[in-house]
Symmetry: C2
Subunit: 290 residues, 2 copies
């Protein structure tokens, strides 16, 4: 184990810029507050409201020198967007970008000479499509106001993007409720599609969820949805756009074949890890009865 | 349709900083090169080798003013890491971060007063675990050198992270080859797990892939793998770690029940979109025979 790095005070051969700010020629520069991670690295979360470059840079240099001596591997630097002025000096010290969210940029620096084993950035968005059929074999469909589907007048399943941290099955129920006002319960995932280079080089996983309707009166959302209706599934399937898109055609055929008793898709089973972390595991329950 | 935005020259009430750089009091500032996207927005890709702040800022201000007049919605600004000095001035003009990769930062600015409908950042990493069983009901397992599994001495399926743009089934075959030297072919996805807050608030989708072995002599990778072997599946399942982790236990039971003839998981079916884009759609083929 490395010694705790938090709040260590460290003598360092600081830059001339930093020396100007210091009161005595032998004064110390306080390294940045860092916490160790489980992989031999450290993480700096710059929580200060403000920090000037000429304070930050000598502290960063002192920290890197210290981390190198201690054999630290990866250094994570989380800069809130209010510290945008510190991005350039951080890059100048050898950091690269790792990922960003609206309000922060994460930079990384791999100190050793060995190959970088830092975890990858998120690579996929997750979308859902909802297959909701009533007892008359009518399927819940919408027409969108904009986008490629809206322009073509296609009647499509309610779809959407899973929010950060949202389960697939929850996202499907939410999107149906938002777009059509219909209450549903999740049955199973019938299929999913992986597509690459969908946006800025990222990939997308799109899950087709079968939901059972619990209400039937449509109350459509006005901002994005032009129209919503219950449509005979044969009519949905006959649309040229569905027939012309192999993935949609397979999914339509799968949906059309669904009876209430079948379970040939993947159900969502709540599961606990040894450490007590909750997640959902999706699989065909029939597999447990083999 | 908006007029093309590329290479328009535009008169603008520029800042005093910019005026200092210009030769005459009535000179023009060239807006940044921008291309329109399909959603009423524009994208700026700052390909120049170098650009000084006092050139960039007036051009950005001129561009924003022009875009506002033209009714542009979202503005995407891609700043290569060599332009780290332009991050702060971009944020000062109202941009926020959208995402980042090693070598660039993408910033966005939503100009209208209406709610921002910009697409979400990627939210998930994608991992794979490979279930490979020979005709003696022995499963291919490895012990890792580091990490939580390595420390506990758990024998586990070969696992890994899908590379950017890599298909799930391809990633599974690659990881088995890399870790154990065994050649395989993809059969189906038996299950997957969605876990949240795995890393920096992101989520993970982990797909358990069944692969059929095409070779049997193990040639393990040295850098990350301590040991690899064919192990009777009952012995694999009996490990306390597998029994203590609900998701692993379900997966082990599913794997144990697999016979060569079953197809209760999701196969990978190559599919083409109407525009000719290739992707894989995963589903239970039995669903098409209902």
């Amino acid at each position: 184990m490395q010694p705790p790095l938090r709040n260590l005070i460290f003598r360092h051969n600081v830059s001339s810029l930093a020396i100007k700010k210091m009161s005595s020629p032998t004064s110390t520069v306080e390294p940045l507050n860092a916490v160790e991670d489980r992989y031999g690295g450290v993480r700096v979360d710059l929580v200060e409201e403000h920090m000037d470059c000429d304070v930050y840079v000598p502290r960063l240099k002192a920290s890197i020198s210290q981390w190198r001596q201690q054999g630290v591997k990866g250094v994570w630097m989380k800069l809130p967007i209010r510290h945008a002025h510190l991005v350039e000096p951080t890059v100048k010290e050898g950091f690269r970008y790792h990922h960003a969210e609206s309000d922060y940029l994460m930079l990384v620096y791999w100190i050793p000479e060995t190959p970088d084993t830092l975890p990858a950035n998120a690579s996929h968005t997750v979308g859902i499509g909802a297959f909701v059929m009533n007892n008359n074999r009518e399927v819940l469909v919408v027409q969108e106001k904009s986008g490629a589907f809206g322009a073509k007048g296609v009647w499509k399943f309610p779809t959407g993007v899973a929010n950060q941290g949202e389960d697939i099955w929850t996202a499907a129920i939410r999107e149906v409720k938002e777009e059509t006002g219909i209450d549903t319960e999740f049955v199973e995932i019938l299929a999913f599609r992986q597509t690459h280079k969908t946006f800025c080089g990222k990939s997308d996983l799109f899950f087709v969820c079968m939901l059972r309707p619990l209400s039937f009166e449509i109350n459509k959302q006005d901002s994005e949805i032009k129209a919503a209706q219950w449509m005979p599934i044969e009519e949905y399937m006959a649309q040229p756009y569905i027939q012309g898109h192999e993935s949609f055609k397979y999914v339509a055929e799968i949906c059309s074949g669904q009876s209430k008793s079948s379970c040939s898709g993947f159900c969502a089973v709540p599961t606990l890890s040894t450490s007590g972390k909750k997640s959902y595991t999706y699989f065909n329950k029939l597999q447990l009865q083999n």
